[in-house]
Amino acid sequence: MKNNKWGLILLGLAIFVIGVTFPFWYGKEKTAPPALSLETPEIAGSADKKCVEDKAFMRANHMKLLNAWRDEAVREGKRIYTAKDGRTFEKSLTGSCIRCHSNKEQFCDRCHNYVGAKPSCFDCHIVPAEVKK
């Protein structure tokens, strides 16, 4: 009896392994990481074209930064953020981030859609370009 079951068990295990690793090997060549557009009037018009922090930091930590901003601005009333290089910003998603990156669909959404992240921030926080339509 045990011998009969081994075949089924191995088949099930194989299906499981294939299924679990599916996202990692399927479509590896089919979709490339997205190209993000920085073509917005505000960025074009800004002098130094620098974000709050440098690109590597933002790419890795922008969500943690935003969460820290959220708690500090709302719960502690501390609204000014001083970046590593000393520039100050208001801790506001719409007011600081989206002010420059006003092309949410060509910037934020491209990476988010690629990795399947669905941040709920924009359920409340307004993207002016979308609202003015």
Binding site: K78, A83, D123, H125, I126
Partner: protein, 260 residues
Amino acid sequence: MTPNRRDFLKIAGASALTIMTPAIFVPAWAKNSIVMPPGQGLAPQKALAAKRWAMAVDLTKCTANCADCIVACHAIHNVPEFGNPKDEVKWIWTEPFASVFPGESPAYSGEKLQKMRPPVFCNHCENPPCVRVCPTKATFRRSDGIVMMDYHRCIGCRLCMAACPYGARSMNYRDPRPFTAKINPDFPTRTKGVVEKCNFCEERLAKGTLPACVEACRQKALTFGDADDPRSDIRRLLETRFSLRRRAHLGTGPQIYYLL
């Protein structure tokens, strides 16, 4: 198989717990792993500050059929208009005198008093029952007296709505965005499932401007200021005029003073 299955379940349970344990501590680690550059926490230079924000509503100046304060507040804060009293969301509105001050409207008071419709909104109490009952501290009292809402944390349990003795809070029973005619891009909307209320325009105070209702009132019936500062306008008003507060005997310490 029976004894083996038991042991298997025990080992599986223990393994699951072991794997889960780091996840419980990760949030604490995550906070330290991000390097926060120095210098945050400064309030903008022009922000208005106070020890105890309060508002005085001069009922002799407040005219019936006027909605200046309501229109200004709801427009700036993207308060939705659902069009039915069931789902209604309102931060400031008017009520008959007898409803605002239950038990305080004697039968012989004149027509003016009986027809009066004082504006009502969150009283930003000193001893707020809503803050006491909130299970997640989504509503909390700032040191300057403003009772705040953290819409990120609210789970929508509505215990605060039950606790508020003034009916000042509204729940978003539906998605508010489709029902907001003109969205002000400088202030977020809310989502369905969270409770909201007047916030004393704390975002305007941070920029050095007075609350929207105070500025919009053409009769200048609303006075906003620091009740703790003996030299403020509101303090002088409270010292010279008789004022009523709503249901003050409940011990909530409301900070909206109605001048008669």
